[in-house]
Amino acid sequence: MKKTTLITTVTFAGIMLIQGALPAFAINTVGGQALINQLNRETNQASRAANRQQNQLQNIINRSNTLIQNRLTSLNTLSSRVQNDPRLSANEKSTLSSDIQTYIGGLTALKTKIDADTDATTARSDEKTIITSYYIYVAFEPKIRYLIILNNLQTTTANLQALVPQLQNLINTFKSNGDDVTQLQSLLSDVSSQLQTINTTITNDTATVENISTTSQPASGTFSNIRNDITQVVRSGFSKIRSDFEQMSPLFKQIISQKQVTPTSSQAVTTTSPSGAQTTPTVSPVPTQ
């Protein structure tokens, strides 16, 4: 009986042991493999996400570098345009060049920052500032180019304005000699009037352009108005002035040639001395024959 009891106990214990060990075997069979597979999947997924983010960051950096490089090229071209302009004064060149250099410096610093960005969100935000903090193509470059145009036109206007009193003196001289200067005077008055209109337009437009902010998109039509002023008022004004000068030239020639003809009726020759603006006709007696 005791032997039977012992065998029964041993058998029971053995069954219990086997039952207890079964889950451990199960891990290495069906459920365990699934767990490992899931873990591997998640690891791969995380790795792919990190790679994707890294690629995204690199793409933003590359795109930003292209955007900045394009702008730097445009700004350097603009700087050369300013430096090589024959009409701009040294002061104007200095001011415009200084503005351009400020932008070049700002964009170069921004490039350094973006290159050092470590996450895509910051890089993307910085990338946007390449546009929104500078507006090179919408505002800055047109602004500088319009200022160059206006400064050049201002210089031409100033030269013409300095010429007007000189011509007026000559006309006055002819008038005091009894010559008919009505047409000349009318043409010169038109030149003065055109210059006044041009000067006012240029002064107002220069102030408008200088006030254009380059950190925001300029109001619609701002540059169009300036362009219209230049093409319709200034350019047409200069064309009229050129036309006036072309008409004045033969009139001057006519008066001058009349003075050089020796009059047969009188015993004196009147010659005009070309020594200065305040020319006074000198009368030289003809030798008696």
Partner: protein, 166 residues
């Protein structure tokens, strides 16, 4: 304490009338030097300190004392001249360097120059025709340049400043 008394009493009591003056009692020595005769009474001790005022019989002592300040003054003058020379030399060098520095600063940022007013040659009957022709050409050049610049502005691709897609 004797020397102090001597220094405190610069005008010593002259010797008694019986004592002849020292200069008169000098007797020529055989080698040509003068020897003072022995004094009948002891002469009061004269203080040899520099602060002692000169006494009629001690003329060489003050001459030796005045040499030291003179030397100091001479040394100071010499040092001053040397220092002035060095200063002038350095100043000369710095003035030669200055134009280079000025040049560098000019390259970095050109200094603004006041805009000069246009100088127009006086228009006379002799040059009025040429002046008008030149002016017309100049105006035409300005218009041509303006047209070129306006075309440059037209060719600016403003869509590059669009933030869409970023």
């Amino acid at each position: 304490m004797e020397p102090q008394q001597g220094s405190d009493q610069p005008n010593q009591t002259p010797p008694p009338p019986t004592q002849p003056p020292a200069a008169e009692t000098l007797t020529p020595a055989p080698d040509g030097t003068t020897v003072a005769p022995p004094l009948s009474q002891p002469v009061p001790a004269v203080n040899p300190l520099p602060s002692t005022p000169a006494t009629p019989g001690s003329t060489p002592a003050p001459a030796k004392k005045s040499k030291a300040p003179l030397m100091i003054i001479i040394i100071i003058i010499v040092l001053f001249i040397v220092a002035a020379g060095v200063f002038l030399l350095m100043h000369k060098k710095s003035t030669t360097i200055q134009p280079m520095a000025a040049k560098t600063s000019m390259i970095a940022k050109p200094s603004p120059v006041a805009q000069t007013t246009p100088v127009i040659t006086p228009v006379t009957a002799a040059n009025v025709d040429q002046t008008l022709t030149n002016t017309n050409n100049s105006v035409q050049q300005a218009i041509t340049q303006t047209n070129t610049d306006l075309n440059s502005i037209s060719s600016i691709n403003t869509s590059q400043d669009s933030t869409s897609g970023l």
